[in-house]
């Protein structure tokens, strides 16, 4: 009898290798031109998204009772990394915006009614999501969130502004993070914040597109809430506990972002290696020069190292462990290594590196974003310094 259990040793079990195969097969259906249109012209990646839904990818981390696969963040990071590695530029952002912000938030903290109503359409690809956290006045300092959701007895009235929010224009629902108790009135500055399921199309919500100059599948928006009324049933989880509950969303977000950076970095390096084998300048392919080879090898190995951290973080999330340290370290290492890899890939391509046709310039811009969002490299370092090394808070 052949063994059929999943490998418990180091390395990729049979299921993981199969997930990668399916992701590669899907990626192979969509060429550079498809992603150029998605990332530059705002074409909807509907066909790609439907393939991901049919393969069960959108429900990878959703419990089976809600139509998902219950496989966890480990599966989701494998999927995103593989798709990005095989040229699906922007898959990472798409997975963060809907499966992470939407499905994971609701699966972890939503009410039964919210799960019943939304998880299935999310898993099937029939619904899009977005998350409004960042504010012009708060930035990385989420404790300073100034968007208020004032309790009215049978609901809330929201006033305030958000900035850089991805995908609002096409989202059916929004995860809104707002203050339900004023900062002055809370015991701890991390308290008094709540999560809501909001409707981006409501009259009380006004959004305007922003231009970031980064090719991406989702447009960013600034949003103003003007006496936007929310029903009590819109509350996700417990009132006032929003920032704590957000870790259930933010750690997966960091890990999926990290997986995406690793995949994009590998994609750039593969293209650089292919180019280097072909391009002859001084009577030999540039790949024969160590100044080209060694950095390629260095960057590749750093991406692999970052990937190990992603796996560690994903394992912690999936086993209900404390994932914070691993998620922050994974995000830091992956986004830095991903950026460096893309930057070198541009260098290997010389002038062609900046030509859109060669794709690496897009990967490089996308990787640059990765060092700022989701969560900047500095904030990852702050976390590691304070929580892992027990250093004093520096700000």
């Amino acid at each position: 009898m052949a063994t059929t259990e999943q490998s418990s040793g180091f390395g990729e079990g049979p299921a993981e290798e199969m997930i990668r195969r399916t992701a590669r097969e899907i990626a192979a259906e969509y060429d550079d031109e498809y992603w150029r249109e998605v990332n530059h012209e705002g074409t909807e990646p509907d066909a790609f998204w439907q393939d991901c839904a049919d393969a069960g990818f959108l429900g990878a981390a959703v419990p089976e009772e809600y139509g998902g696969e219950g496989m966890g963040i480990g599966a989701m990071t494998t999927i995103v990394e593989t798709l990005e590695e095989h040229g699906c530029m922007g898959a990472g952002m798409l997975f963060v915006v809907t499966p992470v912000f939407g499905s994971i938030t609701l699966a972890r903290n939503g009410t039964d009614a919210q799960r019943e109503q939304y998880l299935e359409p999310l898993v099937k690809g029939d619904m899009k999501f977005c998350m409004a956290l960042t504010e012009p006045g708060a930035g990385q300092n989420t404790r300073n969130l100034a968007t208020d959701a004032e309790p009215t007895g049978d609901g809330y009235v929201v006033n305030g502004a958000k900035q850089w929010i991805s995908g609002v224009g096409r989202a059916d629902k929004m995860l809104l993070i707002a203050r339900t108790t004023p900062l002055e009135a809370v015991e701890r500055p991390t308290g008094g914040i709540s999560l809501f399921l909001a409707d981006p199309a409501d009259d009380g919500v006004e959004c305007r597109p922003l231009d970031t100059g980064v090719p991406a599948p989702e447009t960013q928006y600034e949003i103003s809430f003007d006496d936007y009324e929310l029903d009590a049933s819109a509350l996700i989880g417990e009132e006032g506990q929003g920032l704590y509950q957000m870790f259930d969303t933010i750690n997966p977000e960091r890990l999926v972002g990290a997986a995406s950076a690793v995949g994009a970095g590998k994609c750039a390096l593969r293209r650089a290696a292919d180019y280097a084998r072909e391009r002859e300048v001084f009577d030999a392919p540039i790949a024969t020069h160590q100044a080209i080879q060694h950095p390629l090898a260095d960057h590749y190995s750093k991406l692999e190292a970052a990937e190990m951290l992603v796996k560690k973080g994903a394992w912690a999330v999936d086993n209900d462990g404390d994932a914070g340290a691993a998620a922050n370290m994974a995000k830091l290492r992956a986004s830095e290594a991903g950026y460096d890899a893309c930057d070198f890939a541009v260098q290997v391509h010389g002038g062609n590196g900046l030509a859109t046709d060669y794709f690496v310039v897009d990967l490089w811009k996308g990787a640059r974003l990765g060092r700022i969002a989701p969560g900047s490299s500095e904030m990852m370092r702050n976390y590691i310094a304070e929580r892992v090394l027990d250093l004093p808070r520096s700000y």
Partner: protein, 266 residues
């Protein structure tokens, strides 16, 4: 009903492989393994039949080393119920397993499993014999149809209505009585991706390993009058002639060239 789908793991060579003089095979390091393209369609066809007809079991069979289980498991993830993998020290030592040997081994599996329908790929994209399915049908005395690009199964009547793709875009419509062997052409359906659900289920599906003796076969089943004598990369030559002028002038030049090359007379 039981459907047996033959599947093969095939090697694909990297773009820039090297083949030293005298080598009889491409070095392992240039090879990547995957399911034979035609078999993807055979698997999908079998699974679709099982989805449309209750109590239908789809069993895949492959002749291949342990490594090929990775590939077979993808077929299980796409809906095949269980798999049989045949391997043996005697097979390990054979450089080249010919069509007859494969047909003999598969015939022994058919004897064991007693399927109503056997689906094979038209050919394999590594050695491209394109004969295994039909050789098998001959050996087990089943009805058969080759290069099937449309299949409509009448389970009750025990009949397969098939379209066969012939040369020059001609299609032949035939009825084949079950039990039968059909060799499946690419494009007959749209093979699905192995979904996460399928992948999860595949982890607990059975791949039963058989050795030759389990099928009452001896090592001499691999004896073959064929042997591989050499392998080389053909020179690729191309020459392009560009005609210039008005369409009439270009047509004249083309006519002249075809005449010179002896393609047309005149």
């Amino acid at each position: 009903m039981k459907i047996l789908v033959t599947v093969k793991e095939v090697a694909e060579a990297a773009d820039d492989f090297e083949l030293p003089d005298g080598a009889l095979d491409i070095d392992e390091r240039y090879l990547e393994y995957d399911l034979n393209e035609w078999d993807e369609y055979g698997v999908e066809e079998g699974v679709q039949i099982a989805e449309e007809n209750e109590d239908t079991e789809v069993v895949s069979v492959t002749i291949g080393p342990e490594r090929s289980e990775e590939t077979i498991r993808m077929a299980l993830a796409k809906g095949v119920d269980r798999a049989i993998r045949i391997w043996d020290d005697a097979l390990e030592d054979v450089a080249f397993l010919d069509v007859e040997a494969r047909a003999r081994i598969l015939a022994a599996v058919v004897a064991e499993e007693d399927p109503d329908l056997v689906l094979t790929g038209v050919q394999a994209n590594d050695d491209g014999f394109g004969a295994t399915g039909i050789a098998l049908a001959d050996r087990i005395d089943f009805e058969w149809a080759a290069v099937v690009n449309h299949l409509d199964l009448d389970v009750e009547g025990g009949l397969a209505h098939v379209h066969r793709e012939l040369e020059g875009g001609v299609e032949e419509l035939t009825d084949v009585e079950l039990p039968a062997v059909l060799s499946i052409q690419t494009g007959i359906n749209e093979p699905r991706y192995a979904s996460l659900r399928g992948i999860r289920q595949a982890q607990s599906k059975e791949i039963v390993p058989y050795e030759l003796a389990d099928l009452d076969l001896d090592a001499d089943v691999t004896d073959s009058p064929l042997s591989l004598t050499s392998m080389y990369e053909p020179e690729t030559e191309s020459s392009a002639t560009v005609f210039e002028g008005s369409p009439e002038e270009e047509a004249d030049q083309l006519g002249e060239l075809l005449g010179e090359m002896g393609v047309v007379e005149g």
